[in-house]
């Protein structure tokens, strides 16, 4: 599978001056014709969004190896119910589905647990969880709090949804600072809307 990395560009950050390349490249964007898995998740990044400016293509696709497309999409819908961010595109939630699919590929028990969980979501929604209203989705997911399935999906969300280049770009977090020399000369104390503390509380930075 061909992976197209997403490299942020300076102009995309409206309120950060960082321009370095974020080194993590964990979104597999694959060309449609090469995808052969148990399921494929696809979508497009909204034109004009922060991410559309970063990605080489607005079309994204993620290949699943164990779970079906419907199962993957249901997990994405569940993740968006637990951590709803209008600003995050489906492509971010697809990383969650891909990572859970990876866990399912490594363990039959995990695969069964996820499949049962998805099937449970659908039956509680009267057939199709994805198509339920947001309020209905929330009520269903709330009812699952404390279950192994809920714990597995929520736990995976923490890294899959928030620890990736797209989430960083959307939320304005530039990631690794070391290779850019930290913030000692790049605005660690540039906040101007509050008064500066006195030197006794906050001495000047040592600059050699």
């Amino acid at each position: 599978m061909r992976t197209i990395p997403i490299a942020p560009v300076a102009s995309a950050f409206s309120d950060c001056e960082e321009s370095g390349i974020v080194p993590k490249q964990n979104l597999p964007l694959a060309r449609r014709e090469f995808l052969k898995g148990s399921g494929i998740l696809m979508g497009t990044l909204a034109a004009g969004s922060v991410l559309a400016g970063l990605a080489p293509s607005t079309v994204w696709a993620v290949e699943l190896k164990t779970l079906s497309q419907a199962e993957g999409e249901t997990l994405m819908a569940m993740a968006r119910t637990i951590y709803p961010h209008k600003k995050l595109p489906d492509a971010v939630y697809a990383i969650l589905a891909k990572d859970l699919d990876g866990a399912a590929s490594g363990s039959a028990d995990t695969a069964n647990m996820l499949r049962e969980g998805v099937s449970n979501l659908n039956s509680m929604a009267g057939g199709n969880f994805k198509k339920a209203s947001d309020a209905k989705k929330l009520a269903i997911v709330k009812g699952l709090e404390g279950s192994t399935f809920f714990g597995a999906v929520r736990g995976q969300c923490v890294t899959s949804v928030y620890n990736n280049d797209m989430a960083f770009a959307v939320f304005g977090f530039p990631g690794s600072a070391w290779e850019k020399g930290g913030y000692i000369t790049r605005g660690f104390q540039d906040l101007k809307w509050l008064p500066a503390p006195p030197k006794s509380a906050s001495p000047s930075a040592y600059m050699g």
């Binding site: 690794s176 509380a201 930075a205």
Partner: protein, 498 residues
């Protein structure tokens, strides 16, 4: 670096290389004493650290299985991860924030000052602040603590500006960028803080004190240290006189080894230290080593937290710069009028991809029932029962946490926050008290030197020694106790007492 034979029984064996073990090793090596350090984790370096929270967590954190029980929220949210501590050379000094505060005088006398608190198991420390003061001074000099030894404070980052503005509007008096073991200017062969914003992920600029690149290389330079990373100790052995004689561990290849010892010092943090004593039970010590008091594993304390995040109309860029960038000390004193005993420190913190957080660091203590036990139903990869961490919040903790939540919110609102968020406690980095020191052998595991009451050549050398917790971050006290313990061990060895 020394190479000490497995059957050489003349060396001091230290289990763990963090604030306690790493410091003790260097202090002993400087005195010409041969030391073997067995460290469960691998050796990293500022070059290998990564500015990536989760990758770093995988690189540094102690992730061996553990279980939890009790009413604390962590048992529900992080049932397999009661503590955020490290398994790596340097231990949790790779991860710590650098806050270096002395305990207050009254915090060594919790029972006397606070009185009998129902449901707690308070005890006065067998040492006083004045006894520890010379060692605090040595530790501050060794670690390069800002605002001591003529070292300037760190420059405040944007988080600090918010904290300072809010705190001053609230009328708080003692507000500054803290007493931090982070170089504000080059010192001791290490550079100054580059304001990376990844203190918890291992300091890539080496400005933050960690035994990994201070104490340990200095000890290695003496030629007296044999450091063995990826060596997981499973048992401490003793002879028929009831003295410890060596330790059994699995080396980096998974091979079981036995290292003889003249003295064994346990510094595996407050979960692994009592676990190891309990795992080492024998016919002579049926309840575990040094456990005639029954106190091994008991009185587990964690610094209960009341974190508040806040959102502001204008950007703060909370991720830029020193992670723990400022402190308000006005709530750290004992003032029972607030409805609780003890006090808490208020410290700014930047955690993860989120808004502006505050980390409130309240004092707490152990109920006897808050304890580390062996969970024989769950085994780790070496076949040893995993530790279970049981903790129930005490009423005093709950009242203090609510007070801290309220004050934290007020500070941010005073600085113009449009919204604040109370955060439930997360896995604790400050774990204390499970082998507490006591004047009387009935009440604790070790004496005022950390020497176990039952076994003269077995020492507790980490935060497990804390008789009670204080409002302050514990590392400076752990380091001070280790320097002091090294003097005692050297003297005892010279006198052939051990």
């Amino acid at each position: 670096m020394a190479s000490i034979a497995f059957n050489d029984d003349s060396a001091v064996v230290i289990i763990g290389s963090g604030a306690g073990g790493g410091t003790l090793a260097n202090e002993l090596c400087q005195k010409g004493i041969k030391v073997v350090v067995l460290e469960a984790g691998a050796r990293q370096s500022p070059q290998s650290f990564v500015n990536d929270e989760w990758k770093s967590f995988g690189q540094l954190a102690w992730l061996d299985p553990r279980t939890t029980s009790g009413t604390w929220r962590v048992a529900k949210d992080f049932s397999g991860l009661p503590a955020w501590i490290c398994k790596t050379v340097g231990g949790s000094t790779t991860h710590w924030a650098g806050a270096s505060l002395r305990l207050q005088e009254h915090e060594f006398r919790a029972k006397t000052v606070y009185g009998d608190i129902k449901g707690a198991n308070l005890l006065d420390w067998p040492i006083t602040l004045s006894e520890l003061e010379p060692y605090y001074a040595k530790a501050e000099n060794k670690m390069g603590v800002t605002r001591t030894n003529g070292i300037p404070g760190l420059p405040g980052n944007n988080n600090f500006k918010v904290m300072y503005a809010g705190a001053k509007k609230m009328g708080y008096k003692e507000v500054h960028t803290g007493n931090m073991a982070i170089n504000s200017q080059p010192r001791d062969g290490r550079g100054r803080c580059m304001q990376l914003g990844f203190c918890f992920q291992g300091c890539k600029s080496g400005a933050k004190w960690s035994t990994l690149y201070t104490e340990i290389p200095k000890a290695e330079a003496t030629g007296n240290l044999d450091l063995r990373p990826e060596s997981h100790v499973t048992r401490i052995e003793h002879n028929d006189k009831g003295l410890v004689s060596g330790v059994v561990y699995f080396d980096k290849d998974g091979k079981e080894q036995r290292q003889k010892a003249r003295v064994v010092c346990v510094a595996g943090n407050s979960i692994e230290t009592p676990r190891l004593l309990l795992l080492s039970a024998s016919n002579m010590f049926a309840d575990g080593l040094a456990n005639s008091s029954g106190q091994v594993g008991r009185n587990y304390m964690r610094h209960m937290t009341g974190s508040v995040y806040a959102a502001f109309k204008d950007p703060v860029h909370m991720y830029r710069g020193t992670t723990m960038a400022g402190i308000i000390r006005d709530e750290s004193f004992h003032n029972p009028k607030r409805g609780f005993v003890g006090g808490y420190e208020m410290e700014t913190l930047s955690l993860g991809l989120a808004f502006m957080p505050a980390f409130l660091d309240p004092g707490a203590w152990g109920a006897e029932t808050n304890r580390i036990t062996l969970n024989t139903n769950v085994k780790d990869k070496w076949g040893s029962p995993v530790p279970n961490v049981h903790f129930d919040d005490h009423e005093n903790d709950i009242v203090m946490r609510n007070h801290a939540f309220t004050q934290g919110e007020r500070i941010y609102q005073a600085a113009g926050a449009i919204k604040t968020y109370r955060t439930p406690p997360y896995p604790s980095t400050h774990n204390l008290g499970t082998c507490r020191i006591s004047a009387n052998a009935r009440d604790g595991v070790a004496n005022k030197w950390g020497q176990t009451h039952d076994i003269p050549n077995l020492f507790i050398s980490d935060g497990s020694q804390f008789t009670t917790g204080g409002a302050e971050n514990p590392t400076l006290t752990i380091v001070s106790l280790a320097i002091r313990q090294a003097d005692y061990i050297a003297k005892q060895m010279t006198e052939r007492a051990i």
